[in-house]
C-alpha cells in the first residue's frame, strides 16, 4: 500500500513538472477537490465545471452505446488544453499549455 501511494505521488509530481503543465487537480466523487496545485478559487471553479461536463460526456457516450464507457476527455482551447481522466470515484484533471 505504502509503495503504491509513494509511486502515485512520484508520478503525479513528475506530471506536474512536465513542460507546459499549469496545474493538476484530483476531485473526489462529490466534486470536492482533494488535491490541487492551483489556488482555491480556480480549483473550485474547474472542479465544479468539469464534474458536470464529464458527467454529460459520459452520459452521451453511454446513450449512444450502453456498453461503451468514457475513458478520457480532452478539451483543447486556444490558450490551453484541459485533460480529464474520469473514473467512478474520482476525476484527475491536468491543465496544460501545449504550445510553448
Amino acid at each position: 500500500m505504502l509503495t503504491e501511494l509513494a509511486h502515485a505521488e512520484e508520478t503525479l509530481k513528475r506530471i506536474e513538472g512536465h513542460k507546459g503543465v499549469i496545474g493538476t487537480i484530483i476531485v473526489n466523487s462529490e466534486g470536492l477537490p482533494i488535491r490541487t496545485t492551483l489556488d482555491n478559487s480556480t480549483t473550485s471553479l474547474y472542479a465544479r465545471l468539469l464534474c458536470s461536463f464529464t458527467t454529460l460526456a459520459r452520459s452521451t457516450v453511454r446513450d449512444v452505446d450502453p456498453q461503451n464507457d468514457l475513458t478520457f476527455v480532452r478539451i483543447r482551447s486556444k490558450k490551453q488544453e484541459i485533460l480529464v481522466a474520469p473514473e467512478n470515484n474520482y476525476l484527475l484533471i491536468v491543465i496544460q499549455n501545449p504550445s510553448e
Binding site: 503504491e4 512536465h18 507546459g20 466523487s29 462529490e30 482533494i34 452520459s59 453511454r62 467512478n88
Partner: protein, 778 residues
C-alpha cells in the same frame, strides 16, 4: 408604601423651591410639576443615589434635597439597549426597599411616562436627547410581552460575544429549518363540478350575475356612489434589528442531472458496501440513497449537498482524507496517471513522435509562429542525407551510467530495454536496466536494479515479457517486465555451479526447431562469456542450468599475413586455454549455425550439433572482435567489427572478407539496417557512421559526431521506422531519424576498388540489389 405616603404628606406641607437649571429645565420642570400634580399616586419612589445629571434640584424648607429622581436612572455610558427599567429597579444598587414598590408602581407610572413622553414630543426644540432616550427606554419594558424574565435577559445582554478574527474565519454551520406554513388568507375555491347535483342552479345564478354586470352601466336600478371610509390614525413605530446578510447562489441544472441511471447507482453502491470500516459503512449506507442526489447535484454548491443531513456533514469532512488515500492507492488511479502522463508528453513531443511514426506533421493553428522559425524551416530543406535528433531518453537514474546494450521488445515495438553499467574491469558497480517506451521519453516504464553491471540484454520471442539480463559477474537473470514489482528476478543463475566465471558478453534467445517434428519452436537462451564458453540455458528446479555448447579454444598464435589468399584452416589448438568470446549471432534462417567472435580476433562458424569443432574460422582482425551480425536481408553475408578500427564484410563460404571499411577509432558495434540491404551503421567512441554501400565503399554516408565528452557505446536500428537509437557513456539514449537517405540511386561517383575485389563486390552488389527487391517487403 407607607413610607412613600408619609414622604408625600411631608412634601405637601412644605413649600418647595424649585431651582431652575441651565438646560432642559423646561422639560424637567414640566415633568416635575406633573409629577407633583399626580402626586396622588404613589409613584415617587426616590432613588437616593446620585444621578448622572441634576438639572433641577428641589429643596424643601429644611433644605432637604427632595428633587424627584427620574424613574429610570439611565446610565447612558453603559450599554444603553440592554438595560431595562425593571433591572434598574430590581438591581438594588441604591434602593433596596424599592424593589417591591417599583413593581407595584409600574402601572401607575405608565400613565405618567406616557404623558411625559407626549410632552417631550411637544417641546421638541428643547428636547434633551438623553432624556428622550431615557423615556424611550422606559417605554421598552412595557412594550414587551408579559413573559419577561429579567435575570436571563440581563445576562444575555451583558455578555456580548467578542467577534474575533478566528470566529470570522471559521466555518459556521447554519441550520435552516422550515417553519410551519402560515396561512394568511385562505379562501377555498368555489368550484363546482359540472356533474354535481346543484350545478344547474349555480350555472343559472352565474348567468344572472353576468347579465347584471352587463346591464349595470345603463341600468337605472344601479347608481354609482362613492363612500369614504374612516381610516384610523397611523402610528409610526421604529425598531432596530440586526442586519440580515443575504447571499446569492445559483446553479444550473439540466435534464440529465435529474435522473441517475439505475446501473450507475448500483455500481457506485457496491464497492462502498464492501468496506470493512464500520463508521464508513454507516455513513455510506446513509449516503448511498443520497448519492444519486449528490451525483445529480454535483454541479451545485457544496453546501446544498452537505446540508441534507447532520451526519452527512460530519461524515463528508472526515472522509475527505480517507478518500484521498483510497483513491490514490487504487489501481485505476495508477492507470489514469500513466495515461495522463503519456497524453501530456504526447502534446509536448508531438512533432518528434509524428516524425518517428512517419505521420504528417500537423501545424497547431493557434501557435504563434515566430518569423525566425519560418526562416529556419525553409533553409533546412536540403537534399543531402542527414541525421536528425528526435529526442533523448534520459532520466536522473541513468545519468552517468554507461549504456552497455539495448534490445527491442519482440512483441511491442515501442518498448526498448537499455542496460547500463560500467563494463571495464576496474570497477564492478551496480547495474541498471530501464525499459523505455516511445510514448514516454522522460521516464522509463520499468526500472530494474541489478547487483552487477549489466553487459547485455535480450527480449524473448516466445514469452515477450521475459527479459534476460547478463551481468559483469557472470550471472544471468531473467526478469518479467509485465509485472510492476521488479524487486526480484524471475529466475537467476546465481546459484548455478556452471555459470560463467567472467562477464557474460552476449545473450541471445534463439528458437530451434526440433529436428523430428520440424514444427515446434523451442526457445532457449544462449550466452557467451569471458570464460570462453558458449552455453545453452534451461530452467530446472526454479533455477537456471546450462550445458556447454562450445568451448572457444585459443588458436595458433603464428603471425598471420594480411593477404587474403591464405586458406589456413587450422583447427588445432596449441594451448588448451580458452579465449574469451565477445559476441555471437545466430543465422537468421538456419538456427543451427552461429558465428562467434573472440578476443583473439578470430571469427568461428559453429554448429549447435557439433560441440568440438568449428565449422569455419575467419581470420582478419587482429584485435578483439566486438560485434558480429548477419545481414537480415541476404542469407550469407555478415559483418564484423573490431577494436582495430575496421569493419569487415564477409560472405559465408569465403574465408576472406569481401570488403573492409576503416574507421578512425575502435568500432564498438555494427548493425544492419532492417530495410535496406546495403545500409549499415557502425558506432565507435567518437562518432556514429551510416554506411551506404550503394553510394560509397570508402566513406560513410552520414557521420554524426558524438557530443563532446561523450562516447557512443551502443547502437540499434528501429524496426518499423528509419530511425537509429544510439546509447552513450552518459546514460543517454538518443533517437536519430535518417533523412534523405536515397538508397538505390547514387549521386556520387563510386570509387572503383581493385579488380579482384571488384569482381566479388560487384557480384555481391548485384546479389544484394536483387535480394533487396525480394526482401523489400520487410
Amino acid at each position: 408604601m407607607s413610607t412613600s405616603v408619609a414622604k408625600e404628606g411631608k412634601k405637601m406641607r412644605c413649600a418647595v423651591m424649585l431651582k431652575p437649571s441651565k438646560r432642559g429645565s423646561n422639560l424637567l420642570a414640566l415633568t416635575s410639576r406633573r409629577s407633583f400634580t399626580f402626586s396622588g399616586s404613589k409613584i415617587l419612589d426616590r432613588m437616593a443615589g446620585p444621578t448622572p445629571r441634576q438639572a433641577v434640584r428641589v429643596f424643601d424648607e429644611e433644605n432637604n434635597d427632595v428633587t424627584p429622581q427620574p424613574f429610570y436612572r439611565a446610565d447612558l455610558r453603559a450599554e444603553p439597549g440592554s438595560r431595562f427599567l425593571v433591572d434598574e429597579l430590581s438591581a438594588g444598587s441604591t434602593s433596596d426597599q424599592t424593589t417591591f414598590t417599583g413593581s407595584f408602581t409600574m402601572p401607575f407610572s405608565r400613565s405618567v411616562l406616557d404623558s411625559s413622553r407626549i410632552s417631550s414630543q411637544s417641546t421638541t426644540e428643547s428636547v434633551n436627547e438623553e432624556m428622550e432616550e431615557t423615556f424611550c427606554r422606559r417605554d421598552f419594558p412595557f412594550n414587551l410581552p408579559e413573559s419577561l424574565l429579567p435575570d436571563e435577559k440581563r445576562k444575555k445582554g451583558s455578555v456580548k460575544e467578542q467577534m474575533t478574527q478566528a470566529l470570522l474565519k471559521g466555518i459556521k454551520d447554519i441550520l435552516i429549518t422550515e417553519t410551519d406554513t402560515i396561512s394568511l388568507l385562505d379562501i377555498p375555491p368555489t368550484l363546482v363540478s359540472v356533474n354535481a347535483d346543484d350545478a344547474d342552479v349555480i350555472i343559472e345564478i352565474n348567468k344572472q350575475y353576468s347579465e347584471v354586470c352587463r346591464n349595470r352601466r345603463n341600468n337605472e336600478k344601479y347608481v354609482d356612489r362613492a363612500v369614504q371610509t374612516l381610516n384610523g390614525a397611523t402610528k409610526n413605530k421604529q425598531i432596530q434589528n440586526n442586519l440580515m446578510l443575504m447571499v446569492d447562489t445559483a446553479t444550473i441544472v439540466s435534464a440529465f442531472e435529474m435522473y441517475a441511471p439505475p446501473e450507475q447507482e448500483v455500481m457506485v453502491y457496491s464497492p462502498e458496501m464492501k468496506q470493512t470500516n464500520d463508521a464508513e459503512t454507516i455513513v455510506d449506507s446513509r449516503r448511498s440513497p443520497e448519492r444519486s442526489l449528490s451525483l445529480t447535484c454535483s454541479a451545485s454548491t457544496v453546501i446544498s449537498t452537505c446540508s441534507l443531513k447532520d451526519v452527512e456533514t460530519v461524515g463528508s469532512s472526515l472522509n475527505t482524507q480517507v478518500d484521498s488515500e483510497r483513491i490514490m492507492t487504487s489501481d485505476k488511479f495508477q492507470f489514469s496517471l500513466l495515461l495522463m502522463e503519456r497524453t501530456v508528453l504526447r502534446n509536448n513531443f508531438q512533432s518528434q513522435l509524428a516524425a518517428y511514426r512517419k505521420l504528417p506533421l500537423l501545424q497547431d493553428p493557434d501557435r504563434l509562429v515566430k518569423p525566425k522559425e519560418k526562416e529556419q524551416s525553409e533553409a533546412e530543406t536540403s537534399c543531402s542525407p542527414a541525421l536528425q535528433c528526435l529526442w533523448v531518453f534520459s532520466c536522473e537514474l541513468s545519468r552517468g551510467c554507461r549504456v552497455s546494450s539495448m534490445a527491442w521488445n519482440k512483441k511491442n515495438p515501442d518498448l526498448l530495454a537499455v542496460g547500463y553499467g560500467e563494463t571495464d574491469y576496474r570497477n564492478h558497480g551496480p547495474g541498471l536496466v530501464c525499459c523505455w517506451s516511445i510514448k514516454n521519453p522522460m521516464w522509463p516504464e520499468r526500472i530494474i536494479n541489478c547487483d552487477s553491471a549489466v553487459t547485455t540484454v535480450d527480449f524473448s520471442s516466445n514469452s515477450p515479457g521475459q527479459l534476460a539480463v547478463g551481468m559483469c559477474d557472470g550471472s544471468i537473470a531473467i526478469h518479467n517486465v509485465q509485472s510492476t514489482d521488479n524487486k526480484s528476478p524471475f529466475i537467476s543463475s546465481r546459484e548455478c555451479a556452471k555459470r560463467h566465471l567472467g562477464p557474460v558478453w552476449q545473450l541471445r534467445w534463439n528458437q530451434q526447431e526440433l529436428s523430428f517434428t520440424g514444427e515446434e519452436k523451442v526457445e532457449s537462451l544462449y550466452s557467451v562469456g569471458a570464460d570462453g564458453r558458449i552455453c545453452k540455458w534451461f530452467v530446472i528446479n526454479g533455477g537456471l542450468d546450462c550445458t556447454d555448447l562450445m568451448k572457444l579454444k585459443k588458436m595458433n598464435n603464428t603471425l598471420r599475413k594480411t593477404e587474403q589468399n591464405k586458406p589456413e584452416k587450422t583447427a588445432e589448438c596449441v594451448l588448451s586455454v580458452l579465449t574469451p568470446g565477445l559476441c555471437f549471432d545466430f543465422h537468421p534462417s538456419d538456427s543451427n549455425i552461429y558465428l562467434t567472435g573472440t578476443w583473439e580476433g578470430n571469427i568461428h562458424k559453429c554448429s549447435c550439433s557439433n560441440g568440438h569443432q568449428f565449422l569455419e574460422t575467419y581470420r582478419k582482425h587482429f584485435c578483439p572482435v566486438n560485434c558480429i551480425t548477419w545481414c537480415p536481408l541476404h542469407p550469407d553475408v555478415f559483418l564484423s567489427c573490431s577494436s582495430d578500427s575496421t569493419i569487415q564484410l564477409w560472405k559465408q563460404d569465403c574465408i576472406n572478407p569481401l570488403l573492409s571499411f576503416t574507421s578512425n577509432q575502435p568500432v564498438g558495434e555494427v548493425r544492419w539496417s532492417p530495410k535496406h540491404a546495403t545500409v549499415f551503421s557502425a558506432v565507435n567512441e567518437g562518432q556514429l557512421e551510416i554506411w551506404d554501400l550503394n553510394s560509397s565503399f570508402l566513406d560513410p554516408v552520414i557521420v554524426q559526431p558524438a557530443a563532446p565528452g561523450l562516447k557512443m557505446t551502443s547502437l540499434l536500428f528501429a524496426s518499423l521506422t528509419d530511425c537509429v537509437v544510439v546509447g552513450d557513456s552518459d546514460g543517454q539514449v538518443t533517437v536519430y531519424q535518417l533523412q534523405n537517405l536515397h538508397v538505390g540511386e547514387s549521386s556520387q561517383a563510386i570509387h572503383r576498388p581493385q579488380p579482384r575485389k571488384k569482381n566479388k563486390s560487384c557480384k555481391w552488389k548485384s546479389d544484394m540489389k536483387t535480394n533487396k527487391t525480394t526482401y523489400a517487403k520487410y
